[in-house]
Point group: C2
Chain length 77, copies 2
């Protein structure tokens, strides 16, 4: 899986886990909601500064947002 | 520690561990040597695409390059 897709999925998953809307996350991170939406679709490559900022708002470590899901040993890529 | 500094240190450490010069890494990643040098000094915020590319060349997972060193307390997290 490409890194943008990994980040997109982790961002969305973590945001949901925190019960935040795209709008709420955008507000907290001081960016536009459409930018969050774009990141969650892999349209742009975020900078590491942005990864750090979003991680801070979401209360996770930055590297967690770039972590590939561990392979489910039974098939499925 | 700021995320750029975390990345800078990890990049340099991993590059050294692989025995690569900045020039060799730059060549493999198809970027300029001065860009690698700048990243290792935290001058620019790399995009996640660049993190992914450098990780690939270095043979590590992208998230490893953004991972904070564990705190030097006695109990290793």
């Amino acid at each position: 899986m490409e890194i943008r897709e990994v980040f997109a999925r982790n961002l969305r998953r973590t945001r949901h886990a925190k019960g935040l809307s795209q709008e709420a996350l955008a507000h907290e991170a001081d960016v536009d909601r459409t930018y969050i939406s774009s990141l969650e679709r892999g349209v742009y490559a975020a900078t590491i500064d942005m990864v750090g900022k979003l991680a801070e708002v979401l209360g996770v470590e930055p590297d967690a947002l770039l972590r590939r899901a561990s392979k489910p040993s039974r098939g499925k890529s």
